[in-house]
């Protein structure tokens, strides 16, 4: 871990990120915008799966997930730049580590949806006709992404 931090601190990109005063706040702004896009579309999709706005066909609401993917990619890129720019602040930080684990679990939740539930949704099934714990997947997704935001936000206030 220490060697990784030392190496990141010695890279040209680290130097650049830390030398440009405008860059860090700009990355933060994009990171916040990305999280709004991600959670916004996750809310639309998961609440629909839980029975809100039944007038929206579940098979159609997937269109909004393009916004979740877009938001996630923005945050992956800006997030990696945060780590390269200030590795001492993130890599050893317990809130950061918990956040990363939660993102992995949320990712596995998406994989499970794609494998087990999406084929049923594409056949036009909804609500109680869906087998494989659709409601648990939706609730878990909402809880996980909310916790990702919370643990990300408290990173600066947690000492290791």
């Amino acid at each position: 871990m220490d060697r990784l931090i030392d190496w990141l601190n010695s890279t040209a990109l680290n130097n650049y990120i830390m030398s440009e005063a405008w860059l860090w706040p700009t990355l933060e702004i994009f990171h916040f915008f990305g999280l709004c896009l991600l959670l916004g579309s996750v809310i639309i999709f998961d609440l629909r799966a839980l029975g809100v706005a039944r007038a929206v066909p579940l098979i159609r609401v997937e269109t909004f997930m393009i916004s979740a993917v877009f938001g996630f990619v923005i945050n992956l890129i800006t997030g990696i730049l945060f780590i390269i720019g200030d590795p001492d602040r993130y890599l050893p930080n317990i809130a950061f580590r918990i956040k990363m684990i939660l993102i992995v679990i949320a990712g596995l939740n998406v994989v499970y949806y794609m494998w087990r539930l999406r084929p049923q949704v594409q056949q036009g099934l909804e609500g109680k006709d869906l087998s494989g714990g659709a409601r648990y997947v939706a609730v878990l997704s909402l809880i996980l992404w909310t916790c990702v935001i919370v643990f990300g936000r408290i990173i600066p206030y947690v000492e290791y």
């Binding site: 706040p25 933060e28 702004i29 916040f32 915008f33 999280l35 709004c36 896009l37 991600l38 959670l39 916004g40 579309s41 809310i43 639309i44 609440l47 809100v52 706005a53 007038a55 929206v56 066909p57 159609r60 609401v61 269109t63 909004f64 393009i66 916004s67 909310t146 935001i149 919370v150 990300g152 936000r153 408290i154 206030y157 947690v158």
Partner: protein, 152 residues
């Protein structure tokens, strides 16, 4: 501006500014509330602007209540955060711009819900204009909000 000091010295003000976990907890609530309010508002605006046209725009009405829920969380958590640093925030330009952005973003999103999402289902040029304006206002609020810490 005696009253700003009085607000900071109040019980809630001190809880936010000086207790170990007060500030991070309220700040986390504010971040989650933002994601809900701005996230859902952006989704409504994006549908009006053309994303997911296969979904009837009127079917998205119930999500407005979710956005309002996010706003209530942020009105309360924002008031608490203000009480924690009233004497500096009151004079912070980024904070002023953020408040204006939030008011305009909320008003435009509410207007959009009223005349388009709860309308006939037809999306007019006016509706798209309001949606575009709401996205711009939320972006301004988010940018200014993030810069508050850099202005002090």
């Amino acid at each position: 501006m005696e009253i700003l000091w009085w607000i900071e010295d109040s019980k809630l003000g001190m809880l936010v500014s000086s207790s170990e976990w007060g500030y991070p907890i309220v700040l986390s609530l504010h971040a989650v509330g933002m994601a809900v309010l701005v996230g859902v508002s952006l989704m409504l605006a994006m549908r009006v602007l053309g994303l997911g046209k296969v979904i009837p725009v009127t079917a998205l009405g119930p999500y407005w209540s979710v956005a309002v829920g996010g706003f209530v969380v942020n009105l309360l958590s924002g008031a608490a955060l203000f009480m924690g640093s009233a004497s500096t925030l009151f004079f912070n330009t980024a904070f002023h711009i953020k408040l204006i952005g939030v008011v305009i973003g909320l008003a435009l999103t509410w207007w959009l819900v009223k005349i388009c999402v709860r309308g006939t289902g037809e999306v007019s040029t006016t509706h798209r204009g309001i949606a575009g304006g709401s996205v711009a206002a939320w972006a301004a609020a988010l940018i200014a909000g993030r810069l508050i810490g850099y202005f002090s």
